[in-house]
């Protein structure tokens, strides 16, 4: 139970005068899906950015296991097992789907010295990439150029890239946005499967999905944590209803 993979301790982020995150603390456990809810602009993406290293914390610390990663660069955190997806699709548009994922897999084993060998024929890379493609339902699209995918397909690729880096913690920023209903269902199944071996931090506005898979939910409003609790109790909270669902 006490398998804390990733932990934020009183992190804050200021953009000029704006406090986008104010003393936020939370933990991501192995085997659990931790969802973050909150109105637009509540600071959810900002939090993920601080966990992944895309933004530096104005104050507070981030721990991976017992390791303080607050001052590590995104690439260093990625290598330690923090994988993230982006809310705004962030892929390699002119590469094929396979190459997108292969490159991600390559980061695990850079083989800088292998000057005379071909990256694309190296089996371990290929296998990891193909697995990620298969998991996200993109099989058959391997040789399509990423920019020629539809919006929803690009969202699938967004996730496939993260998976190809074999992270232990997944930070997913609205992974279902832009996906159709069927793809959403597939994705939910995938997340359910992945969570067995990973810790997942999920930002998502699709309530059906969130309540289908979340084990713990944190609700953020205006940069601060409103509550962290089980899905049932979050759903029942009058405050949350008012701030987020608007019933």
């Amino acid at each position: 139970m006490n398998d804390v993979l990733l932990r934020a301790e009183n992190v804050s982020k200021h953009f000029g005068g704006l406090v986008a995150n104010d003393n936020v603390s939370l933990s991501v456990y192995k085997g659990k899906t931790h969802a973050i809810l909150g109105p637009n602009g509540a600071g959810k993406s900002t939090l993920i950015n601080m966990l992944s290293g895309d933004l530096t914390c104005s104050s507070g610390s981030v721990f991976l296991g017992n390791l303080d990663v607050t001052h590590l660069q995104p690439n260093e955190r990625s290598l330690l097992g923090i994988g993230r997806s982006y809310q705004k699709t962030n892929i390699f548009p002119t590469f094929t789907v396979l190459e997108n994922c292969r490159l991600a897999a390559q980061s695990r084993e850079p083989r800088l010295g292998a000057v005379f060998s071909s990256a694309s024929n190296y089996e371990p890379y290929k296998n990891l990439a193909e697995k990620a493609i298969w998991e996200t339902g993109l099989e058959g699209y391997e040789s399509r150029v990423a920019s020629a995918l539809s919006h929803g397909e690009q969202r699938q690729l967004e996730l496939a890239i993260v998976l190809a880096t074999q992270p232990s913690v997944l930070l997913l920023d609205e992974p279902l946005a832009g996906m159709g209903s069927e793809e959403s269902f597939q994705m939910i199944d995938l997340l359910k499967k992945l969570v067995k071996t990973h810790g997942i931090l999920l930002v998502e506005h699709d309530m059906d999905a969130v309540f289908a898979i979340a084990d713990i939910i944190t609700v953020m409003v205006n940069g601060s944590v409103l509550m962290t609790d089980t899905p049932d109790r979050v759903r029942a909270s009058a405050e949350v209803q008012q701030a987020y669902f608007g019933h």
């Binding site: 995104p74 690439n75 993230r84 390699f92 005379f116 060998s117 990256a119 880096t165």
Partner: protein, 321 residues
């Protein structure tokens, strides 16, 4: 796939043509062609940076100049040695070390800012060889009295004073550089570098030490440019600050765009086309600048992707018909 195969065929044809060229017996043109080959090598080194890594450098001539001046300083200015075995490594190492240091600074910037900082550093190099006598600084440059000597013990391996030997030596340098580049591009490092061109941010977030990779290509490209500069100095018995000027950086960039960037053969095609075209206009027309200018404008309008994209365009055209 088909498209890239075309390019290898083109490349092979070009090399064979260059190999056979001296047998045609246009003595003067051997020299000219080998000088273009040097520029092609220079352009290829820039292509690595611009076409594949997306680092548009406007100061690449600095490294060309480092190679050229390294040889000039060792052989003429300080008369240390003419030996190829010493001068070439010194030239390459000098470029590696200097570009490593410069890279630490310039690679912190991106896009157009990178273009300008590379220009700035190159200009500093330019003024150094223009103004500081200790490193051969003079507006008019340094004259060299001999080419590098390629000897083992007392046995002359190659006599570079012989124009034909020099020709093949230069051609071999281009060939090996291209082969190395080919290997580099398909290696893991090479692929990663190409990923950085396309989406640097995502490369970082999937775990690549982007800065370090960029620094590596920057140094590699500079070393190849230095090789080209070294050959240029050796070939033409002289160096001058012009070799490091921004005009030179712009020239090679133009050749590359003209030929087609990131196209592998683009640099080579571009160097030949650019110089030969200019030569033709200078020889046969009154207003060469006008005709060259018009040609360039038409090329840009009707042939985006440069000359190297011709085969695939042609193919597409034939395929449609």
């Amino acid at each position: 796939m088909v498209e890239s195969k075309n390019k290898y065929v083109l490349l092979a044809v070009m090399f064979i043509a260059l190999l056979l060229f001296p047998t045609l017996g246009f003595d003067f043109y051997n020299d000219m062609v080998s000088r273009i080959v040097i520029l092609a090598l220079f352009a290829v080194s820039l292509d690595l940076l611009v076409g594949y890594a997306g680092l548009i450098s406007f100061g690449h001539a600095a490294w060309f100049g480092v190679g050229a001046y390294a040889f000039a300083l060792l052989s003429t200015h300080y008369q240390v040695t003419d030996s190829f075995w010493i001068t070439l490594p010194v030239a390459l190492i000098a470029a590696a070390v200097l570009s490593f240091i410069v890279g630490l600074f310039v690679l912190r910037t991106k896009g157009i800012y990178f273009i300008m900082v590379t220009l700035a550093f190159a200009q500093v190099f330019y003024f150094l060889v223009h103004d500081v006598p200790a490193i051969g600084g003079s507006t008019d440059g340094l004259n060299l009295y001999a080419r590098p000597t390629l000897e083992i013990g007392n046995w002359v391996l190659l006599d570079l004073e012989n124009p034909l030997t020099m020709y093949y030596f230069i051609l071999a340098a281009l060939f090996f550089s291209v082969v190395l580049l080919w290997f580099f591009l398909r290696s893991p490092l090479g692929r990663a570098v190409q990923g950085i061109k396309i989406n640097e941010h995502r490369m970082l977030s999937i775990g690549f030490p982007v800065f370090r990779y960029k620094l590596i290509v920057f140094v590699i490209a500079s070393v190849f440019a230095s090789l080209a500069g070294y050959l240029f100095a050796a070939q033409s018995y002289g160096v001058n600050p012009e070799l490091l000027s921004w005009h030179k950086s712009a020239d090679v960039l133009l050749m590359l765009i003209f030929g087609g960037m990131g196209q592998f053969v683009g640099g080579i095609v571009g160097a030949f086309a650019f110089i030969l075209l200019k030569d033709v206009f200078m020889t046969y027309t009154d207003w060469w600048q006008l005709w060259l200018g018009i040609t360039i404008v038409l090329f840009v309008l009707f042939l985006p992707g440069g000359l190297a994209s011709l085969p695939s365009r042609f193919k597409a055209l034939v395929g449609k018909a």
